[in-house]
Point group: C2
Chain length 208, copies 2
DNA sequence: ATCTTAACGGAACCGAAGGTCCATTAAGAT
DNA sequence: ATCTTAATGGACCTTCGGTTCCGTTAAGAT
């Protein structure tokens, strides 16, 4: 978070005594930030409001996170740690479909959906936030890449297939819809995304 | 833009005398807004700064567009009118690749790239802006859907293929990379996106 | 148990984003 | 050419996001 270029590494606030109160404050603030983001979007994210929701001093929020983007970056770092384990249904199509359904459920969830769009918006405004977002997706993608590797091992896909790229291909159309519109985000869209990724993978498009 | 629910439709500013000065001001402001967006992103979009760049009174900008999101919405409406005509190379693969390369060129352009990310960020903060963005992409997608329809007519793709969905499938992975990272936006990525869409389309994934 | 000081939080402060007022300019109708 | 008034833009004002100051609380070391 705070990689100050200061003389002899001045420790960032919250790093020397990370236990007890400090941790409690961080949790409360990140939860409040998520709520605020889901409700008002990134554009309407006000640090003072977050402080109020978290029942924490306004000063504290400004001192530790400074800017809305910084706060979102930390929220993302926190989200990346709570990775959901993937399923393993034994066939590529089933696994990719399960992944697509999971993404769909996330993006259409009344809290998670707005939260994700907000977080993406935040990432476009600040490089550090963008890096945090990239790291988050790297974790998620790598988690699901396993089922593609398994499919390669089973001989369902050509050797040398880029597993991560296949997983991203499943998510991409759903995020595209979320952001640029053009059709509803429903089960049909999810299944189509999964089927498309599977078809392309079988055709060897993702062989590096 | 201004669909006021006022008694007996009070005309929005700029609608009664749209010629001469008013048009000149709009052009200058939209150009300035695009520059500002490309440079500082949506988060750093300041209406006063836009006014300064456009050499226009601050009051004018606030009166006509009110909010950053409103300004971006108008900018999008303007962008939607300047549609670039598609190519027609005679084969599905070539046409989709050309489309992918065009999207790539746009997203990696030093001005257009940041502009597009900013505009997408703006759309997440305001419903009206989101609608404008959707309309923009609807125009773009429909423009290129023609070459998919042609491929169906030539028998390259199964009848009943949803042309728009194929076109979106080409763009989606590129936008996904732009926003969530995970790999460079290069020619290889563009070609892969086109190839994947073509493979999935041939497999009948986009038959409605 | 005691001590040091990291971290918190209330109050007061500051600057600029955003809005109001009104005189000036120029579309567009006659 | 003349007139009406839509639209502009400068000066001024108000609100509030963000910061600073400093006293209070409680981590973590002894």
């Amino acid at each position: 978070m705070d990689a100050e270029g200061e003389p002899d590494d001045v420790p960032a606030t919250g790093m020397v005594r990370p236990g007890g109160r400090t941790a409690r404050v961080r949790d409360a603030v990140l939860r409040a930030a998520g709520d605020a983001l889901a409700e008002h979007g990134f554009g309407g994210l006000d640090l003072a409001d977050v402080a109020r929701r978290a029942e924490v001093g306004k000063t504290t929020v400004y001192r530790r996170w400074s800017t809305p983007a910084g706060l979102v970056a930390d929220l993302l770092a926190d989200m990346a740690e709570q990775s959901v384990p993937r399923t393993d249904l034994g066939s590529l199509d089933a696994d990719l479909a399960a992944n697509a359904r999971l993404v769909l459920r996330t993006l259409t969830d009344p809290r998670q959906g707005p939260l994700f769009t907000s977080v993406i918006a935040a990432a476009t405004c600040d490089v550090r936030t963008a890096e945090a977002l990239h790291r988050f997706y790297e974790v998620r993608v790598r988690e699901w890449a396993g089922c593609v590797d398994a499919a390669v091992a089973r001989g369902e896909l050509p050797a040398g297939t880029d597993a991560c790229e296949v997983v991203r291909a499943v998510s991409a159309p759903l995020y595209y819809r979320l952001l640029t519109g053009g059709g509803a985000l429903d089960a049909a869209a999810a299944d189509r995304a999964a089927a498309a990724a599977a078809a392309a993978a079988r055709a060897g498009v993702y062989v590096s």
